[in-house]
């Protein structure tokens, strides 16, 4: 992995946002006093007339975004994941999801790798509360390339969208010509013994875990399920049928997120042993991201252990 390029998904966001700003004059960007961290500052610098900083007022930002979208703009509204989901949830619900307006809520600093800022700033529940909203599309890109593809797709995709990005640099897993489609999961590694379904920052550890399992003669399929909603049910059911066991991995609570969504589909359509790797209904804490990932069980080793446990149950 030492050869792998490391780029934070938020950095990829800033770069592509400026590009689409050049291509499409209807793109408008909002932030709530975190433009330097979310990287919307890159757009703001180049297009000051189409950038609005609403200050520390996330609810107002989402409402303003809805108004701009109602008047025909393609709006990207950014802040940290905790604020863009929880703090403004009712505004997202009524002004954006209910109205089916083209507001793209692109949040950064999702999950525990937000690190030192601690629990108040670590969104581990956002996938759950956003995917519960009708009309909402939820995408969790796995790397810089997928982030760029997601944002480009978002411009053409009418309707509300929640895109979940991260703070730290993460490995680039995809080639530049990677064929990304909203709602279509990606099989990143073939395998027939079980399937590891991951999203976002946990895709790289999932691949690592699968490689380690391979050394033990266990063939783990790895699926990058970047779109949590609409969920690629067909792929999940196929993986359950073909491999007979599933492990999910996400930098999010095991309640209601990727694992919850996959478990719903599996339980209803193709019951097989399933284990969810994620935060186990706890708040995080301050610390170095890499240390927190270990402490809260979000590592390739944990995914590997879950895979072995799932295989045991399959017998």
């Amino acid at each position: 992995m030492s050869e792998t390029k490391m780029i934070a998904t938020r950095d990829a966001y800033g770069k592509v946002l400026a590009e689409i700003g050049r291509e499409n004059p209807d793109v408008v960007v909002l932030d709530a006093d975190l433009a330097v961290s979310t990287k919307t500052s890159v757009f703001a610098k180049e297009f000051p007339d189409r950038f609005f900083d609403l200050g520390v007022a996330e609810q107002d930002m989402i409402g303003t975004a809805a108004g701009l979208a109602a008047a025909g703009k393609i709006v990207f509204a950014s802040t940290f994941a905790v604020f863009g989901s929880g703090r403004a949830w009712d505004q997202v619900r009524v002004s954006v999801a209910y109205t089916r307006l083209s507001v793209k809520i692109v949040v950064t600093h999702a999950g525990i790798t937000t690190g030192e800022d601690g629990a108040s700033h670590q969104a581990n529940e956002d996938i759950a509360i956003m995917r519960a909203l009708p009309n909402m599309t939820v995408v969790v890109p796995a790397d810089a390339v997928e982030t760029e593809k997601t944002i480009r797709a978002a411009v053409k995709y009418y309707g509300p969208m929640y895109v979940r990005l991260s703070r730290p640099k993460t490995p680039v897993l995809h080639p530049a010509d990677y064929d990304f489609q909203i709602g279509k999961g990606e099989v990143m590694r073939p395998g027939s013994d079980l399937t590891i379904i991951a999203c976002g920052t946990m895709v790289a550890p999932a691949l690592e875990a699968a490689a380690a399992l391979g050394q033990e003669g266990l063939k783990a399929r790895v699926v990058n399920l970047h779109t949590i909603k609409p969920l690629d049910k067909e792929l999940i059911v196929r993986c359950a049928g073909e491999t007979g066991a599933i492990v999910t991995a996400e930098e999010h609570s095991i309640i209601g997120g990727l694992g919850g969504a996959v478990a719903e589909v599996v339980a209803e359509n193709a019951p097989v042993p399933l284990i969810r790797v994620g935060l186990k209904d706890v708040f995080g804490e301050s610390g170095k991201p890499e240390e927190l990932l270990v402490k809260y069980g979000l590592t390739a080793r944990e995914i590997g252990a879950a895979a072995r446990a799932a295989l045991e149950r399959k017998k």
Binding site: V28, D49, R50, F52, L54, G55, A57, Q59, D60, M61, I62, G63, T64, A65, A66, G67, L68, A69, A70, A71, G72, K73, V75, D90, Q91, R93, V94, S95, Y98, T99, R100
Partner: protein, 281 residues
């Protein structure tokens, strides 16, 4: 200024809209008549005098936009939209019925002419700001209007939005507060006092106007002044009476915030409005 005959015409329309509100909420056996009636004259002046729109082409880009932030006053907006020709008047009686386009709180996707879905209080002004910013970006002369409730102004987001509008100097935006002085739990003053209300808006950077929210010429005058204001958004604090036009609702504003008139009460109310209508025409 406005001719006397135009004012008379608008007053007659306001009576008509009030009758719709009574009939609609009675038929639905639910809904919010009190805050619809207090806003009736304001809505009438907006839809039949002030706003530029094309009911045949609701998406006309140059139109003025109206955001009903106090989304529970849906009946009065529906009545105005129907009379303005956005949809048939006959549809009004489906208010709040399963499968109806006339939702309990306004929904922009189910009816033409509605610019923003509301119902969770405090959200409309932010959306109106967004529309005003879009008009500025697109160099459109169109204006944006937003009607708020007074109780609604207890929501923090209203003041976030108030700061935004002033910061961006949105003089293409007019907010109107339907100051009917009652909210569900009691008089606004007693539940959580807004005073000094005009000073609060002024301190937030707004041009503040006041008017009698039941006098058509006064509403017209205030809206006209707001259009001329430069460099600041304008708020018109319209003094109103909850349940205005129906004496027994005016007498018990708390009873008719979210309660529909019974069939007997409907007869009484319509009779009273009928007599008012005859006087104004």
């Amino acid at each position: 200024m406005t001719s006397q005959s135009k004012a008379k015409e608008l007053e007659a329309m306001a009576v008509k809209l009030r009758r719709h509100v009574i009939e609609m909420t009675c038929a639905a056996a639910s809904g919010h008549p009190g805050g619809s009636l207090s806003a009736a004259d304001i809505i009438t002046v907006l839809y039949f005098f002030q706003l530029r729109y094309d009911a045949k082409n609701p998406a006309w880009p140059e139109r003025d936009r109206f955001v009903m932030s106090k989304g529970h006053a849906a009946p009065i907006l529906y009545a105005a939209l129907a009379e303005a020709g956005f949809f048939p008047v006959s549809q009004l009686k489906t208010l709040r019925q399963t499968g109806s386009s006339l939702q309990g709180h306004v929904d922009m996707l189910s009816l033409p002419g509605i610019e923003m879905s509301t119902g969770s209080l405090g959200q409309g002004l932010s959306a109106a700001n967004g529309m005003a910013l879009a008009n500025r970006l697109d160099k459109r002369e169109s204006r944006v209007y937003c009607l708020l409730g007074d109780g609604e102004c207890q929501e923090g987001q209203v003041w976030e939005a108030a700061m935004t509008a002033a910061h961006y100097k949105l003089d293409n935006l007019t907010a109107i507060v339907d100051h009917n002085k009652f909210q569900i739990d009691g008089p606004v003053e007693r539940i959580k006092n807004l005073a000094p209300f005009p000073d609060k808006w002024r301190a937030f950077g707004w041009n503040v106007l006041a008017c009698d929210g039941h006098k058509v010429p006064a509403i017209i005058e205030a809206l006209g002044k707001a259009v001329k204001a430069r460099g600041k958004p304008t708020v018109i604090i319209a003094e109103t009476v909850k349940g205005k036009g129906v004496s027994f609702m005016e007498a018990k504003p708390l009873d008719y915030h979210g309660k529909a008139p019974t069939a007997d009460e409907e007869k009484l109310a319509l009779g009273e409005l009928c007599r008012r209508g005859e006087k104004s025409s």
